[in-house]
Symmetry: C2
Subunit: 122 residues, 2 copies
DNA sequence: GTCTTTGCTACATTTTATGTAGTAAGCTAC
DNA sequence: GTAGCTTACTACATAAAATGTAGCAAAGAC
């Protein structure tokens, strides 16, 4: 897969707008999951593989290469870690943790309403 | 592709943690782009197709179905639009626009340093 | 030396995405 | 009412990407 870089046309966007490159990158399978799991603390390839349950080494390696080339991840003593830029990006992603709980609640409510409605139809 | 729902195991996560479902959903090809383009204003299928340059109708339709099932998108008079929940999620994504510009700058700086270093090596 | 762990690569299979074509439904204007 | 347009898709063959298993080379422990 070609590397999405700001200023360069990417998959699905010929404009090269930085946001499109970023969304392309983040929208790749497991990229967000890698951010999430690396944010907890730096770790080795194998450990990261474990945290991203069952990710194939092939894909993990591809993603890590992409994330290193785009300055979000670096290799250091303890293994792989987010760069300063990566941490900054993660700060934007972090609130999604709380949001996802709210989302779960709303979906549950919707289901609830549906089954109530079904009851009335009886 | 199976629908990622919070509370239910998803691709790459057997725990069913809501955040994993959300990251699975957002990590699918074009999902983030659809959010971005729909946030500007509601629009028809065709218009959305145009905004997401060259997205295939098959995929667009799949993504729209997923996003409707997960309460982020709804069909209304003017076409497709973000739901209230979708808007809320988009508020978390929006700052990435500014961030991506910063990212572009930092990548440019890195390139700059590299070529300077190459000059010294001559 | 051998044993284990780590960081990968190879590769066949399966899953997704792309791209083109086409269909059915709803206007608009004679 | 029918001819011509637009819209919202679906079908399907091809291409690209992900999965999963196996294995290998290098580094460190003992």
């Amino acid at each position: 897969m070609s590397l999405p870089l700001p200023g360069v046309p990417v998959r699905g966007s010929k404009t090269g707008k930085p946001i499109m490159a970023l969304l392309d990158l983040l929208g790749r399978n497991w990229t967000l999951g890698i951010f999430w799991n690396l944010s907890q603390n730096p770790c080795t390839f194998r450990e990261l593989q474990n945290r991203c349950e069952n990710i194939s080494p092939t894909l993990l390696n591809n993603r890590l290469k992409e994330l290193q080339a785009t300055m979000f991840v670096q290799k250091q003593a303890g293994g792989y870690a987010l760069t300063e830029l990566g941490e900054e990006l993660f700060n934007h992603i972090k609130p999604l943790g709380g949001f996802s709980a709210l989302w779960q609640q709303q979906l549950a409510d919707k289901q609830q309403n549906r089954s109530e409605q079904a009851d009335h139809e009886d």
